[in-house]
Amino acid sequence: MMTKSYEDALAQLEKAQAALNAQDISQLPAAQLINLERSKAAVYGEIQALQAKQIEDRDQGYVAVTDVFRECKSDLKELSNWVSAKEARDRAIFSMLTKGVSIALSLLI
């Protein structure tokens, strides 16, 4: 996989955030809603950390800068697994969630 720059990572995080925000949560069970809200907070924190800090060495590949974002990998995976376990027609309801989660996970590999 190609290494992402911090600038690319910021753009990807914003895409992930937009997708997660666009998901209608009324179809989510509470356990997954908790995972979603925790993931949203983690993505938000990572975006703000990247915006507030000038990354001095831009040639270096992106590595998550906040612990909270790094640690939310398990929440994102749980959300991903939960959607994957659904019937195909139900998965369509959670397409924005799937998109947001997969973008965010791609930054944590």
């Binding site: 009324s26 809200e37 703000q48 950390a49 001095e56």
Partner: protein, 369 residues
């Protein structure tokens, strides 16, 4: 109103001065004083804006935390400030240098002893030497090279200003100080940033910005304090959107609960719009500050040529201060609105004392909660 009346009086009064060979000291001192008041007020507003950004971030954190707890979650309870102490200290050094310069001008213009102003200015210029581009939000619109150049120009401000110890005449100080003041204004302008891209070049490179150019010609890409505040507002807004959607699924929902959530959802968005307007007008005020300084320089040059005190120059200083007075009021009003939102946070969050944390919907595969 009283200030506008003052402008009219000056406009009526000044042509009479044009025949004089020597500039009116009282008017000049008052003009420098007006300029200095404006600079000090502008510095205070910028400081306040960084503090407001932290408050919005805190509000979003609290709302998200509360929602997660209501859902039965186990959220991270450590608040992460947006800016580190050293980031805030860097901006304070810059603003202190601006204030020190403005106060020095007043002391020179009014013939007062300079010792305290001078020592303050020397102290702040020493702090500026410690600055690096990493302390500011410039990467959204400037290359690393330009960022470093800009911060370096500001950090050696004492070379650009002829300090009053060497020359107590106002004009040479202002002539040299103009360049430094402009660089500081540009740095703050970029640091405040933009809420969206102002150039089509932003998607692949940096917009072409000359660091010596007129501030009004600057084109920024999304980033800086405005973008950070926008993200914080958006985060909190989305917590309330989710909460509203969640309420729809609850059997025990009431119209009162929904109304409270809607009010919060709207209030935070309106606050975000007002805060961004304040930040945008702060950038316009930075341009007004540079223009007022230029006008002050022109006034002094014209006075040396015995051509009198130009009306336009004087009115620019007054209008600069007038603009800042409006911004100070707006900032105080936003601070108050934000404080009200924070205080009422607990009450508004407690929408349903018997929050059902079992499931959001009829989906029955996660009933372990």
């Amino acid at each position: 109103m009283q200030r506008l009346f003052q402008i009219f009086i000056l406009i009526g009064f000044l042509p009479g001065l044009s025949a004089c060979s020597v500039i009116d000291d009282t008017l000049l001192t008052e003009e420098v004083r007006e300029f200095s008041r404006g600079v000090v007020a502008l510095s205070a507003i910028i400081t306040q804006e960084f503090s407001l950004a932290e408050e919005v971030n805190t509000l979003g954190f609290m709302d998200n935390l509360q929602f997660q707890l209501e859902l039965g979650g186990n959220p991270d309870t450590n608040l992460k400030p947006l800016f580190s102490a050293s980031d805030i200290a860097a901006r304070q050094s810059l603003l202190a240098a601006l204030n020190g310069y403005a106060e020095t001008l007043v002391a020179v213009a009014s013939g007062k002893p300079l010792s305290s102003e001078y020592s303050k200015l020397v102290g702040t210029t020493e702090n500026l030497k410690q600055l690096t581009s990493g302390h500011f939000n410039l990467a959204h619109s400037l290359s690393i090279l330009d960022s470093d150049q800009l911060v370096n120009d500001v950090s050696v401000i004492d070379r650009l200003i002829i300090l009053p110890e060497r020359d107590r005449r106002l004009l040479p100080i202002i002539e040299k100080g103009g360049s430094a003041l402009s660089k500081m204004a540009i740095l703050l302008y970029f640091d405040i940033g933009a809420v969206s891209d102002q150039s089509s070049k932003c998607s692949y490179t940096y917009p072409k910005n000359e660091l010596d150019a007129d501030l009004s010609s600057l084109r920024l890409c999304k980033g800086g304090l405005r973008s950070i505040v926008n993200s914080a507002i958006s985060f909190d807004t989305n917590v309330w959107k989710d909460k509203l959607a969640y309420l729809k699924t609850q059997d025990q929902k009431t119209s009162r609960d929904r109304r409270i959530a809607i009010e919060r959802l709207v209030s935070i968005q309106k606050l975000g719009q007002r805060l961004d307007q304040l930040l945008s007008e702060t950038q316009t005020s930075l341009i007004a500050m540079v223009n007022a300084h230029d006008a002050l320089e022109k006034t002094l040059k014209d006075a040396e040529k015995s051509s009198g005190l130009p009306v336009a120059a004087t009115s620019k200083s007054i209008l600069f201060v007038e603009r800042l007075r409006g911004l100070t009021g707006a900032a105080a009003s936003i601070e108050s609105a934000l404080s009200t939102l924070s205080v009422t946070n607990s009450a508004a969050q407690n929408l349903q004392p018997s929050f059902n944390t079992q499931t959001v919907t009829g989906v029955n595969d996660d009933k372990e909660l």
